[in-house]
């Protein structure tokens, strides 16, 4: 798999408690390993499920439990057009 420097983790959080600091503490990672610009983003609000972006190396050490999911891939995305031939 082509290198992804950062990956996504999911957490079940109380919406009142959905902060980068809380996510960092729950994940048990250093502050430098979590992307504060990305923040904490609700992906399934009905389930109180949020996602954060963390360094892939830090994610390897995270212990998953019922409240934590991941790591999830953060692949490159590209525009589809114009179609390029097999030599480009």
């Amino acid at each position: 798999m082509a290198g992804m420097s950062k990956v996504m983790m999911t957490l079940k959080l109380d919406p009142k408690d959905a902060s980068v600091d809380r996510a960092r503490d729950l994940l048990g990672i250093d502050d430098s390993a979590i992307d504060r610009d990305f923040g904490v983003i609700a992906v399934s609000p009905d389930d109180n499920l949020y996602t954060v972006l963390v360094e892939e190396t830090a994610a390897e050490d995270i212990q998953n439990d019922q409240a934590i999911g991941g790591p999830f891939s953060n692949p490159r995305i590209e525009p589809f057009g114009p179609p390029k031939g097999s030599d480009g």
């Binding site: 399934s44 996602t51 972006l53 999911g69 991941g70 953060n74 589809f80 057009g81 179609p83 031939g85």
Partner: protein, 451 residues
């Protein structure tokens, strides 16, 4: 194997056949063929062939570069009939047995021919006006289906409003509600002229009055990046912002057009891995797509350019290239057709990975439109088909908001009213068929009908 067999006439015609508007058949004896292993195709009427004379030609009489005279004079005509001979071991014997007949002048192959699909690098087929005509935009606009008071988020490389104005397009950009990744020096509406500007242009074919949200996700920068690409996490941020906007203003319909995807499975965890994106409905981005749709957004994704006939050179999926959110059940996955209503050879075919029944419908591409890639270059890829379709959806939403017809029901109506090609129903090339605005409007509950 199908063959053509050339036969001499049993007697010479009385006059030249060249003067006949419909060529009279010279008499031939088909009975001689029943003594061979040729299975004659009786539905194929014999075709008269002339003899070619190439005076002064050296070598083959049919040298393509030499002038030739085609004679239908009585001694020069013959007939060709169609049939089949065995394949495999019996084929050579069958040919020999035919050629042994004095009436048979030659045995030729009759290969299957097929239309040449439009592929990347081909010149444009038709132009934006042709697309507008095929979508019946004149009547749509006359009935008030213009995209007015509808937001269209173009999640792409950014829009250049000044370029669109030069093409007599007034693209209203909602700058405060647009999204620009950190570190990108240009502002919404003022990004470099590229793919995203093409998409905005193509939305405007059906929805000239739409308001654009410029979500330049594909401009995000990673160290060492050399080409236009983004990261899926930026799309997560974009969709989160769009959801917040929709929740704050449910009265303004939102259409989200996405002409991007993942080309290479090597960029992802493998299918089956719990962190995989392309095949995993539990991936955060696939979850947020469902969340945004549930909030009331109409979401469209291009099916991709990995069609079997002429895939993009970047395609690395060996099968089922419609993957990830491009195959999500809560989105419209858009395949590409040219203005001859023929699928373009690069349009990805289903089944999809998250939802098998993809693509959903097809829309127009490979036409002369924005010319952002150069004068005479087409708006191409399913990249163009998607915003063309998004424009139709935005136009519809002007008169039929999600409160009257939620996104899931609109998708169903779009599928039911699509113009099917070939056999009726769904197929993995065209989906349910071509998006058909007149039929779609006719099926809307309580909305104005077309004049």
């Amino acid at each position: 194997m199908r063959v053509l067999v050339q036969l001499r006439p049993t007697e010479l015609p009385r006059a030249s056949l060249a003067a006949h508007a419909e060529f009279a058949e010279p008499p031939i004896d088909l009975g001689v063929l029943t003594e061979t292993s040729l299975v004659l195709d009786h539905d194929f009427p014999p075709v008269v062939l002339p003899t070619v004379h190439a005076p002064g030609a050296v070598g083959m009489a049919l040298a393509l570069g030499a002038p030739a005279d085609f004679s239908f004079e009585p001694p020069d005509v013959s007939s060709v009939v169609r049939g089949s001979i065995p394949d495999g071991d019996g084929q050579q014997a069958a040919v020999g047995e035919l050629l042994a007949r004095p009436e048979v002048m030659g045995v030729f192959s009759d290969p299957v021919i097929a239309t040449t699909l439009t592929c990347g690098g081909d010149p444009p087929l038709g132009d934006a006006a042709d697309v507008a005509a095929r979508l019946d935009c004149a009547r749509l606009h006359e009935a008030g289906y213009t995209g007015a008071d509808v937001r269209v988020a173009v999640v792409d490389t950014g829009i250049n409003d000044r370029y669109l104005q030069k093409l007599q397009r007034t693209a209203t950009i909602d700058v405060p509600n647009s999204f620009t990744p950190a570190g990108v020096p240009t502002a919404p509406g003022a990004h470099q002229v590229a793919h995203g500007t093409m998409c905005a242009y193509d939305v405007g074919i059906a929805a000239p009055a739409a308001t654009f949200l410029d979500h330049a996700v594909l401009l995000s920068r990673t160290p060492g990046q050399v080409q236009i690409q983004g990261l899926l996490s930026d799309a997560v941020r974009s969709f989160s912002q769009l959801r917040a906007l929709l929740l704050a203003d449910r009265d303004t319909p939102l259409v989200v057009s996405n002409s991007w995807g993942v080309f290479d499975p090597a960029w992802d965890f493998p299918p089956g891995h719990p962190g995989n994106y392309t095949d995993n409905p539990s991936h955060p981005f696939n979850l947020i797509v469902a969340t945004l749709e549930d909030a009331g957004a109409d979401i469209l994704f291009a099916a991709g350019n990995c069609g079997l006939e002429c895939p993009d050179g970047r395609c690395r999926f060996t099968n089922r290239p419609i993957c990830g959110a491009n195959s999500h059940p809560a989105v419209l996955s858009i395949a590409g057709i040219d203005t001859n209503d023929e699928r373009v050879g690069y349009s990805s075919q289903g089944p999809g990975r998250l939802s098998a029944e993809k693509p959903d419908v097809c829309s127009y591409t490979h036409f002369k439109g924005s010319e952002v890639f150069g004068r005479g270059e087409p708006d191409s890829g399913t990249s163009a088909a998607c915003p063309v379709a998004a424009g139709v959806v935005a136009a519809i939403r002007t008169q039929c908001p999600p409160s009257a017809l939620p996104p899931a029901q609109l998708r169903t109506l779009i599928a039911k009213t699509a113009t099917a090609f070939g056999a009726p129903g769904f197929d993995f090339d065209y989906g349910w068929g071509a998006l058909s605005p007149p039929a779609l409007v006719a099926g809307l509950p309580g909305s104005p009908q077309l004049p």
